[in-house]
């Protein structure tokens, strides 16, 4: 290297009359950067490729994201990550639909992303192709009966139809009443099976009438369609649970949707912010995604579980005593309300962990924690009629919570607290919903 330096310095002097001090300085700089310098050819080629992907994302966001998601159909965590990105971009990701979904993620006429049929567990590749090919050849399916007569029922079999139902891909045909498809009829078979049987005979009849030279053109070729059965709809939670089973995702909502108000009111921290709450008492809420129970060296059971809310996930562990105390709550799908501390781990001052103090079901929190219901009303809207309406709703929902009212002046940014005297009200959703129907600024719950 010393030789190279001399050569460099001599070259600089003879070529540009650069003095030794300066050229040595330049040589030093070169040496420093040689440590890190990157191959420009590679960076240029890869940046052009990066630019191409960005160009597509900027100009054709739905198509680009659908293309990216299509290569990850079996990777639930990546798909959910990309779905969040779509949400941020303002692109809806819709559940699968036999009339719109393609084999892979695609974009519909409204520019929304449709879930890939191939991402539904239990739906084979042949079934996916049968559904898509027929639709592309002869147009959309106008009804469930229409679809059943047109697709190959050997590939689109009972298992496929169950998967399609659970994923919500047949929602368009009956207003999303998924329970109907899997309703068990008097003959002990599922509705989808009855329709499959019916469709099979229909196809046979048509075939034989075509084949017969003297086709009995007068005779009625149609058998009566088995009607959609009368039964109760699945509730949201059931529906979401099934969606997660077959796709890995909650598609039509989130189980925690029903507890938004409770989580806002009674939890003081969302899961994405837990690590910022060092040495603080935190209350958190969410749904259990997975549980892993193990036995330690001493034969004691412990469990790791993952809690999820709208903002993210948190890994939690319960050992020994805590395990005995809490293990009944640890089950995937359970929605929990947890109090604890984010504190230094025993003996290890650098690692923090969330130490659980108590767990209860999220569905019981309102009952135990709600102390008052608080409504805000605008002074520009308040009149006797509104007061009367509030009063009426309150009287209809008696309970043990206090009722608080605040009158606000949005223009002056001031407010006046009004105290309701002896009115004790309920905290249940029916009451809150009824209040939300009225022309109020906000309806909130309060603890302690």
């Amino acid at each position: 290297m010393a030789k190279e330096r001399v050569k460099f310095v001599e070259g600089a002097l003879s070529l540009h009359q650069i003095l030794e001090k300066k050229s040595n300085e330049i040589f030093d700089i070169m040496e420093r950067f040689a440590e890190y310098g990157f191959n420009r050819s590679h960076a240029a080629a890869y940046s052009v490729l990066a630019y191409q992907t960005a160009y597509l994302k900027a100009h054709y966001p739905a198509e680009y994201m659908a293309a990216v998601m299509s290569r990850k159909t079996s990777d639930v965590s990546t798909i959910s990550f990309l779905t969040n990105e779509c949400k941020r971009m303002g692109i809806d990701v819709l559940g699968p639909n036999v009339n719109e979904s393609q084999k892979f993620f695609s974009v519909n006429a409204q520019g929304k992303i449709r879930f890939a049929l191939s991402a539904i567990k239990g739906l084979g590749e042949a079934a996916v192709e049968a559904i898509v090919d027929e639709r592309e050849a002869k147009g959309a399916y106008v009804s469930f009966y229409d679809m059943m007569q047109r697709v190959n029922l050997r590939t689109v079999n009972k298992k496929s139809l169950e998967a399609l139902t659970l994923a919500g891909a047949l929602d368009d045909f009956n207003n999303g009443h998924r329970a109907q498809y899997l309703h068990i009829g008097k003959d002990g078979s599922l509705f989808i099976e009855s329709v499959a049987k019916w469709a099979g005979s229909m196809v046979d009849r048509k075939a034989s009438s075509v084949a017969s030279l003297f086709g009995n053109s007068g005779a009625d070729q149609t058998l009566k369609e088995p009607p959609f059965p009368e039964c109760e709809r699945w509730n949201m939670l059931q529906q979401l649970k099934h969606e997660k089973e077959v796709t890995g995702f909650y598609l039509s909502g989130h189980p925690l949707d029903a507890y938004k108000l409770d989580m806002e009111t009674f939890a003081n921290c969302t899961l994405d912010k837990v690590t910022q709450g060092k040495d603080k008492a935190l209350t958190i809420a969410g749904i259990v995604v997975s549980v892993d129970t193990r036995v330690d060296k001493n034969g004691n059971k412990f469990a790791r579980f993952v809690l999820e809310d709208f903002t993210g996930t948190l890994d939690l562990v319960v050992f020994n005593e805590d395990y005995i105390k809490f293990n009944q709550y640890l089950e995937a799908g359970k929605m929990l309300y947890i109090k604890g501390n984010y504190q230094v781990r025993f003996r290890n001052s650098e690692n923090y962990e969330f130490k659980i103090k108590s767990i209860q079901l999220l569905s019981t929190v309102r009952e135990t924690e709600a102390r008052f219901v608080h409504v805000k009303l605008s002074m520009y809207k308040v009149d006797e009629r509104l007061i009367e309406q509030i009063n009426k709703v309150c009287l209809a929902h008696p309970g043990k919570c206090q009722f608080k009212m605040t009158l606000t002046d949005e223009e002056e940014n001031t407010f006046v607290n009004l105290k309701s005297l002896d009115l004790k009200v309920d905290s249940a959703n029916e009451f809150i919903d009824a209040l939300n129907e009225l022309d109020l600024v906000s309806v909130k719950l309060g603890a302690g």
């Binding site: 330049i26 960005a54 160009y55 994302k57």
Partner: protein, 716 residues
């Protein structure tokens, strides 16, 4: 007295040999041995490494193989009564021809004779490829000894004569003394044959591990292989497991061997005769370039490459300026002078074919993007003149080395292009590259613990004591852990597990196939290197791995699958079907406002190379406004140069003064605000300031980089 081991298994006798090649050779050096042979079972996996390691130690490497020999290598259906009767057969390569025949036999053993996990050859092949080979009567499992035991001396003599007639002077009686009654019986007959036919005897030991102490570790290795427990008794009956009869199967010292054959000193001495008649083959060679067929109108590949280059240049450049013409001529001159025309033609050919059949191909990868010739013949798709990329960074006329052109394909297209290459050059000229899975520190403990029936939970606890540092060795882990040291000092099962794991650490556990690399040979590949076959591939697989395959003269090319290319391809299809818009992705404007806004907002999830959270943060600060900014960020966002990003950002926004080391460098360093981001800038600095040639500047840059790496290693 000199003695040479001519019958040695290494860790490449998969899960049967426990000797590491360096360890075995070190023992040979200590014992003043002149030469050592490698004779793994059925394969030559370790041969290249063995020769290199032996040369390092000034030991004469003897290349051999202990084959599985059967009556008919094609026969692959057997019954319970008449199973596959495999005999062992040892061959040593006497010279280069012998090596080639050994490789040929070994390859054919796989290609034609593979049954279960055994590559098998037969006498038909031996007749065809015996030239240059030395043969011996081998071990107890070989034809002559087995015939002695099963059919008697007379039949064995007939068998013996077959080999003797074929190999003549190069046939030896091999005597092993592992204290086995059967062996004594066989040896007695063999000695008689030697006298009767005047055939020389050699002493050998069927070495499977280095020291006698290692026999337990070796036994554990056998259990790992067969999935048995160490506690299961050895034997052939039901409920028993395979195992060696005693602990005599090690790399014995000259003294031990001499003592063992005190009554037959000539058997020891004759090993020296074998050594003296062997000229070790040369395995290391310059790259052999495959032959690329050219149209009749051209005399040679050079003319054809020149033709294609200028034909392409007229399409690529609106106007062929003297400057561009000069650059192309310069590049061509170097490519031709270094003899790489054929290589360029081959790559260009399969890339064009790929495009033709609808495969999405990346714009370029690595330093090849710096070649204008590569751009003109469509190997790359970004213009090095426009982007100011240097050819010398790719091919340096002052430093002869193989150019490295790697190509990205979409995941589905990759295989289609490989299929084309196989079809064009022939299945016997194309191969994938083998990889070896070795037992690392943790897996060695896990494996040993299982065989010793140590509870899984406890063995997991034991492996947890080993840090997750990649490449950590057991010795290093023990050095850094008081806990492990204490365990090792004790005498409980954990101490034994760690001790045995230490012996087996680094053993080759299995073989696999390299994910992207393909080699193309100029001719039938088995003429140059041994190959094998693999279950999950239709292609041949080399027996030498990627670390040495180029040293063995094989041209390696990486065919990489890149999902981002599928993303682009799939998106273009969706855009076409949804909106009826046809986009040529290579012709989009590179100054698109909307695209740069996306980068400026750091909304780069799902954007190739720019999607990490750290990158998003820097993009928001930098607010890139042109492709140069992106190239710089791509180069800077790596461990090390990352420290320059804050300065880079500030300088772009004028919050820090942009300074140049010298006014002459202003133009060169302007796009990166005075910071040297690229190797090319370092090279050009040497040229601008001190008049270096670009080739010389590349050498300077490499020297600087190396020096720093060395310093790092010292300090680190």
């Amino acid at each position: 007295m000199q003695f040479t081991h001519l019958h040695c298994h290494t860790q490449f006798s998969l899960l049967d040999g426990a000797s590491s090649i360096p360890g075995m050779l070190d023992k040979a050096v200590k014992d003043n041995m002149e030469a050592v042979a490698i004779t793994d079972h059925g394969n030559m996996f370790g041969v290249f490494k063995f020769v290199a390691e032996a040369n390092k130690r000034n030991i004469k490497p003897i290349v051999g193989c202990e084959f599985y020999l059967v009556a008919d290598r094609h026969k692959k259906t057997f019954t319970k009564e008449a199973g596959d009767n495999r005999y062992h057969q040892l061959f040593l390569a006497k010279n280069q021809t012998g090596y080639q025949n050994l490789a040929k036999l070994c390859s054919l053993g796989y290609i034609q004779g593979l049954y279960s996990k055994y590559p098998r050859i037969d006498k038909e092949l031996v007749l065809q490829y015996h030239e240059g080979l030395i043969a011996t009567t081998c071990c107890l499992g070989a034809m002559v000894p087995q015939t002695i035991l099963n059919e008697g001396e007379e039949a064995a003599e007939k068998e013996f004569k077959w080999w003797l007639d074929l190999f003549g002077e190069d046939y030896y009686i091999e005597l092993q003394r592992h204290h086995l009654p059967e062996q004594e019986k066989v040896n007695e007959v063999l000695v008689r044959f030697a006298k009767k036919y005047n055939v020389k005897m050699i002493a050998s030991n069927d070495s499977h591990y280095i020291d006698q102490n290692d026999s337990d570790a070796h036994d554990i290795l056998l259990c790992i292989n067969t999935g048995e427990f160490l506690s299961t008794p050895k034997g052939d009956a039901k409920g028993q497991r395979f195992g060696f009869p005693n602990n005599e199967f090690y790399f014995k010292s000259t003294a031990e061997m001499t003592a063992l054959f005190k009554d037959l000193p000539e058997a020891i001495d004759n090993t020296n005769e074998i050594i003296s008649k062997i000229t070790p083959p040369k395995l290391k060679r310059d790259i052999l370039l495959p032959h690329f067929p050219i149209p009749a109108a051209f005399d040679n590949p050079n003319d054809y490459l020149r033709h294609l280059t200028f034909e392409g240049a007229r399409k690529r450049y609106k106007e062929l300026t003297p400057e561009i013409e000069e650059r192309l001529n310069f590049e061509l001159q170097i490519i031709i002078q270094m003899g790489f025309s054929g290589y360029f033609l081959i790559v260009s050919d399969f890339i064009r074919k790929g495009k033709e059949i609808g495969v999405m191909i990346g714009p370029g990868r690595g330093s090849a993007a710096g070649s204008a010739v590569a751009y003109c013949i469509e190997i790359t798709n970004i213009d090095p003149v426009k982007y100011n990329l240097l050819f010398e960074r790719f091919l340096n006329p002052e430093r002869v080395s193989m150019p490295d052109i790697d190509t990205d394909f979409d995941e589905d297209g990759r295989q289609k292009v490989i299929d084309y290459v196989v079809d064009k050059y022939g299945k016997n000229q194309v191969a994938q590259i083998i990889t070896y899975g070795t037992m690392a520190a943790k897996s060695a403990i896990k494996d040993v613990a299982r065989v010793m029936e140590y509870p899984i939970a406890d063995s997991t606890a034991l492996t947890k004591m080993i840090p997750d540092t990649p490449g950590i060795s057991l010795d290093k882990a023990i050095e850094g852990s008081k806990e492990l040291q204490d365990i090792l000092k004790g005498s409980d099962i954990r101490s034994r597990i760690i001790k045995q794991a230490k012996v087996l650490e680094g053993s080759v556990r299995n073989s696999g196939i390299h994910a992207s690399a393909v080699i193309i040979a100029p001719d039938d590949i088995t003429k140059y290197i041994p190959v094998a076959v693999a279950k999950d591939s239709d292609l041949l697989v080399t027996q030498f791995d990627g670390k040495v395959i180029e040293d063995a003269g094989m041209l390696k090319m990486d065919f990489l699958g890149l999902t981002n290319l599928n993303n682009i391809q799939d998106a273009l299809k969706l855009i076409k079907s949804n909106r009826g818009v046809d986009i040529n992705i290579d012709e989009i404007p590179l100054d698109d406002e909307l695209t740069f806004q996306l980068f400026q907002r750091g909304e780069t999830i799902a954007i190739f190379q720019f999607e990490s959270p750290g990158m998003q943060k820097y993009l928001k600060e930098l607010k890139p406004t042109n492709i140069e900014d992106l190239i710089a960020m791509n180069a800077l966002y790596r461990p090390g140069p990352m420290e320059y990003i804050p300065s880079f950002v500030k300088r772009k926004h004028g919050a820090e003064k942009t300074e140049y080391p010298h006014p002459l460098l202003e133009e060169l360093l302007k796009p990166t605000y005075g910071i040297m981001v690229y190797q090319e800038q370092i090279m050009l600095t040497a040229r601008i300031i001190a008049g270096y040639s670009l080739g010389g500047a590349d050498l300077l840059r490499r020297a600087m980089g190396k020096r720093i790496k060395r310093r790092w290693l010292k300090n680190g």
